[in-house]
């Protein structure tokens, strides 16, 4: 029998029992949609958690801790597969102040490798990179952090007592490029600045960080500045100097998020203490994998319940068509063909049920992602809740594939026994049946 004729045959039978088949398809649809929607909540919450975690970090960054990190180690790390850049940051462990005229800031000097920084997105908004020891680049928030402290104090004093009004802090508004400011180190313990001053010239302003909420008020300098500042530190510090002025921190950047894990484990193997987002993500992924598996399992029970409907429908179909099956066998239909026709019918119920379930699930997911934040926000009195980008339900293609496979397998298995029963129908008994 040609495949087209087999389809025709099934269509005719389905047409004859529209209501019964419809109810069975409905049960299969509800079971599968329940599985998809239930598991989609797991996927949704997982996605939300991941995006909340990733939103606040540089996701490809791996922090490396060790007692002696230097240029040599950094060079070695550059040789690891999938490492895009290795940036060594050296910060001063002392009080610092930068003064530009009447404006001052407790500047944060950072010695870095501009070449490596450029590879991971460091760029200038204006100016150029330092070319000599006393040239620096400042963050885009540097000007704002330069405050006229005496004017600020006067403003604060002028305010009536108990006023909650915050005065506008007078910060530096002028041009930065080409300006020379005074940089001083100091003692955290006494809170006093050392006498020796270093004049640094701003030659560039860094681009605004990609995250809106980040304020970059750093002073980026070249490594050549370190010996100069260490000299001052040793001279001016009254107590005996034991700790070095600068401490290093290495940041290794993987090329893509997927490779953070492999780079992290390679660094661990080399004996470094590392921290990366992949560590945290791994734990969350394991938890949510278990949760999603649990939800799929619960959903599968719903599909199994709906399979009882398919089993009943197919058993009734076989019983009702016993005489017809007998006639077909008598005129030469192969038992395998009879079995295939019934299996195809139960598979058809499974396919239609699954397709409808997928459509319905996407609709439910869409509506719940739109409606639930509004409802939850209203319920807990947080009007901004809807803007937090909380996703309640996500249906990835993998979930659709898993649910479809479960649904179709269950539909075919449910139809298997009735189909086998059909092949075993005795021709003589079937022909004796009354119409």
């Amino acid at each position: 029998m040609q495949f087209k004729d087999q389809i025709d045959f099934i269509r005719q039978h389905i047409k004859k029992n529209k209501l019964r088949v419809f109810m069975t398809v409905l049960a299969a649809t509800m079971g599968t949609a329940f599985l998809i929607v239930l598991a989609s909540v797991g996927f949704g919450i997982h996605d939300t958690m991941r995006s909340l975690m990733l939103e606040n970090r540089l996701v490809t960054q791996i922090e490396v801790y060790s007692d002696d990190l230097g240029a040599e180690e950094a060079e070695e790390m550059k040789g690891i597969d999938h490492v895009k850049a290795v940036v060594m940051h050296q910060g001063a462990n002392a009080m610092q102040q930068a003064s530009l005229g009447k404006y001052t800031t407790h500047g944060n000097l950072l010695v870095t490798d501009f070449k490596e920084e450029a590879k991971v997105g460091f760029a200038l908004a204006e100016g150029r990179l330092p070319e000599s020891t006393y040239e620096v680049v400042v963050g885009n928030g540097f000007a704002e952090s330069l405050i006229d402290e005496s004017a600020a104090e006067k403003l604060a004093e002028a305010l009536p007592e108990g006023s909650e009004e915050e005065p506008e802090i007078p910060s530096y508004k002028g041009e930065l490029i080409g300006k020379t400011f005074t940089y001083q180190l100091g003692d955290y313990g006494t809170g006093e600045l050392y006498d020796d001053k270093t004049e640094l010239t701003i030659v560039g302003v860094a681009k605004k960080p990609s995250k809106d909420w980040l304020v970059d008020n750093k002073i980026y300098a070249d490594a050549a500045l370190i010996p100069e500042l260490e000299k001052i530190y040793k001279q001016d510090k009254k107590e005996e100097v034991t700790d070095p002025l600068f401490s290093s921190m290495l940041y290794v950047y993987a090329d893509v998020l997927e490779n953070v894990k492999s780079v992290t484990s390679e660094l661990k193997d080399q004996g470094y203490n590392v921290y990366s987002i992949s560590e945290e993500l791994d734990q969350i992924d394991v938890f949510f994998l278990a949760l999603k598996a649990g939800l799929v399992f619960v959903g599968t029970i719903a599909i199994l319940i709906s399979s009882i409907g398919i089993f009943n429908t197919m058993t009734m179909a076989v019983t009702e068509r016993t005489r017809e099956i007998g006639v077909m066998k008598a005129i030469g239909a192969q038992p395998k063909l009879i079995q295939r026709l019934f299996l195809m019918e139960s598979a058809w119920i499974g396919v239609v049920g699954t397709v409808l379930a997928i459509i319905i699930s996407y609709a439910v997911s869409l509506v719940s992602n739109w409606l639930l934040p509004i409802i939850v926000g209203a319920a807990i009195g947080e009007e901004d809740f809807a803007e937090l980008n909380v996703t309640f339900s996500v249906i990835p293609w993998q979930l659709v594939v898993i649910a479809s496979a479960i649904s179709l397998t269950v539909a075919i298995v449910s139809g298997w026994r009735p189909a086998r029963k059909a092949t075993r129908i005795d021709v003589i008994d079937a022909l004796r049946r009354e119409l």
Binding site: V327, I331, Q334, P335
Partner: protein
Amino acid sequence: MLITVQDINHSFLIGRKGKESNVPVLKNISFSVKQGEIVSIVGRSGSGKSTLLHILAGFLKPDSGEIVVKDTVTSVFNEQQSAQFRLENYGFIFQNFQLMPGLTAFENVELPLKLKGMNRHQRKDKVQQLMKHVGLQSVQDHYPNELSGGQQQRVSIARALITDPPIIFADEPTGSLDSETEQEVLELIQTLNDTRDITFVIITHDDEVAQRADRMYRMHDGILTEEGVPNAV
């Protein structure tokens, strides 16, 4: 010989489980049918004639003995081989027509061709031609419950003929028909036998029907004996 039946024995187990008794229904049946013959097997109800037909058609396996059709031993076939052989070599006419109630007359006749895997266009031409030949053209889109007994039996005959089988088994072909329609059906069988050289094996309880065959066998208590045919058509 087209069909040769040699020493067929068959019995049924009757009674409750554990207390069954063996009732022989066919005893040493041997006969043969030539190409183009109409052979009738007549007997009372319960004589074993239908069981013999079921064994010939491959619905049942004999306890012993051999059936050779077109030089092929069919009594050793499994279910699949039996079904395939039926599809290619046999046509069936049943007493209560055994038409598919959900299919039109045309679709009922078309069914064996579908099972053979013939394409739609070829099927359409062939079925229309045959329905015209047996006088069913005007009712081809009717469902079985919209047809008279005679028309239903004609549809059943057309279904048996559609694959051009060399042999047609007819089980009480006129059992559900009035005498006028009975004559029409018997004449149609005779015509088909004459024009298409089809071999008919007719099972009947009616001596009158049986005597219209070329040769007639009588079945009595599982034993088959050949009788003369005085009124052969």
